[in-house]
Amino acid sequence: MIGQENMKIVSHQEIAANIFELVLEGELTKKMTSPGQFVHLKVTSGNDPLLRRPISICSINQEMNQFTMLYRVSGNGTKVLSERAPGAVVHVLGPLGNGFPDDYLKEGEQALLIGGGIGVPPLYELSKRLVHKGVHVTHILGFQTESDMFYKNEFEKLGETHIATADGTHGVKGFVTDVAEQLSIQPDAYFTCGPSPMLKAVESKYETINGFISMEQRMGCGIGACLACVCHVAGDESGLKYKKVCSDGPVFKSGEVVI
């Protein structure tokens, strides 16, 4: 069930260059059950910015009634959000969409989690849950440069973590797929979120295994009504079949939609 709530900012800090960690508290947290779901935030009241902003749920703390998001300041909306101080409230609509399945793999199986930039956050809650089930996790996280990097330590606590930076300032120089080339493990499934070119490359590299891919698209309503966020269904020659990223996704099975 989707809910709405004015949630209180309990902490808000810059954890890397232009990357903010935002923790909100409220009853809506109880509805957050699946990693990879997102919320639609009204960053401030009033007409500017007007629309809500989709941000992934990064981790959920049911005991504290809190959840965490990580976001990058990329335009006006996220800029305004970054200026909101602890104690203020943010209006949250969510949780939205379908997340990553955390029961697809069994204890002892191998999961590969691949995140690029601001696609990294939803993998964190997923990884925690997989580890809790006894699944072995390996992370490959890609960033532009070292100063953009975040949550390396958090991921390392959960499992093997490899970093790629486009400029080589940290870890392997290049893309997440360059790291994947060097890995010896054979994952039983992969889970990925990040920019479309990365998702495409990951999907074709792991053609033979099942994966779960989180898509990004510009949104209006966030609940499936406006058809702003559609993508084509893979293999549909008519070109008429579609899925809505907001309500059918954002996570799709590999091979399900056209990236």
Partner: protein, 313 residues
């Protein structure tokens, strides 16, 4: 009679507030949030004869106090809308206004004839004003002669009253209103979106794949208000007004400008509960102002009614 109940051709509205076409799908998504029977009516997504995928993405962009969209009339096509979407809506006690679009006059006729026979469709809204498709749509909404002809033909085949949705992208909206009135329209709905664009400042390229899109939201309210004010003085047709409505005061403004009812579009994306909230607040404010009926305020921006507005005989 409640102070909010409104009678229009084909429509008995519990209240003058309804979601605008394209901003509410066929209602399913919003039914998760509230009982759709609370609404005055529902203007459903544009329906065309055949299924349409619409435009490539990105389809939306934000602008100051507004948004651009170029969805491109994506819809599942006439048969599916009749058999599934409208059928599903029958469980609610709410009149449906079906939004009809097409590329040729024949398209409009076929869809209008079939969809007007659905039991819960009480009126048609003929979309001759979508700025986001190449052929059809707005081509009919910018030439008075074609608009008149289209109205006549649709009127001939429709089993329910016909409202024509006007485009603001014309030099004289009054002329368009005259034309469709002559063509036999039962009412007007206005305004559709204003053609606009946004560039990515860094690359200099349009943000929306279609390059241009339709502007909606609070940013267009002054334009919509002015157009309703002008047109309502020149025709006797009832007007369903839209353009940036997000609260009860916006509704009152449009009624004061001369509208009979009001539709809410973009605001649904900001707050899914906005329509029932507006209805509740509208009732409260009229009570507080001691207005017996919402239509006592209708056209007061231009009518010389003085005291009469507050003391209905």
């Amino acid at each position: 009679m409640s102070r909010l109940q409104v009678e229009l051709p084909g429509l008995t509205l519990k209240n003058p507030v309804m979601p605008a076409s394209g901003c509410f799908g066929f209602g399913k998504e919003y039914s998760q949030f509230y009982d759709l029977s609370l609404l005055g009516a529902i203007m459903v997504k544009a329906t065309t004869r055949e299924v349409r995928f619409g435009n490539p993405t990105p389809r939306v962009a934000e602008t100051s106090s507004g948004m651009l969209n170029a969805i491109g009339l994506q819809n599942p096509g006439l048969d599916h809308v009749l058999q599934h979407e409208l059928k599903w809506l029958e469980q609610y006690d709410v009149p449906v206004i079906a939004n009809v679009a097409g590329s040729t006059i024949e398209d409009y006729e076929q869809v209008a004839e079939a969809i007007s026979k659905a039991p819960n469709v009480h009126a048609l809204e003929i979309n001759i004003s979508c700025p986001n498709v190449k052929e059809g749509g707005i081509a009919f909404g910018t030439h008075p002669d074609t608009a008149r002809e289209l109205t006549e033909k649709v009127k001939r085949v429709s089993s329910v009253p016909v409202y024509i949705k006007l485009s603001p992208n014309v030099s004289s909206i009054t002329e368009m209103a005259y034309a469709v009135e002559e063509g036999g329209a039962d009412g007007l709905s206005m305004i559709n979106t204003l053609l606009g664009m946004r560039l990515d400042s860094r690359t200099g390229k349009p943000v929306i794949a279609n390059k241009t899109g339709g502007l909606s939201g609070p940013a267009i309210k002054p334009v919509a208000l002015r157009m309703v004010y002008e047109v309502s003085q020149k025709t006797t047709l009832p007007i369903i007004a839209m353009g940036g409505v997000s609260d009860e005061m916006d509704v009152i403004d449009f009624i004061s400008a001369g509208a009979s009812a009001v539709a809410v579009g973009t605001a649904n994306f900001v707050d899914p509960l906005v329509c029932p909230e507006i209805i509740k607040n509208l009732n409260n404010i009229l009570e507080e102002w001691e207005i017996e009926h919402i239509h006592d305020l209708r056209g007061r921006s231009w009518k010389d009614i003085g005291e009469a507005a507050y003391h209905r005989s």
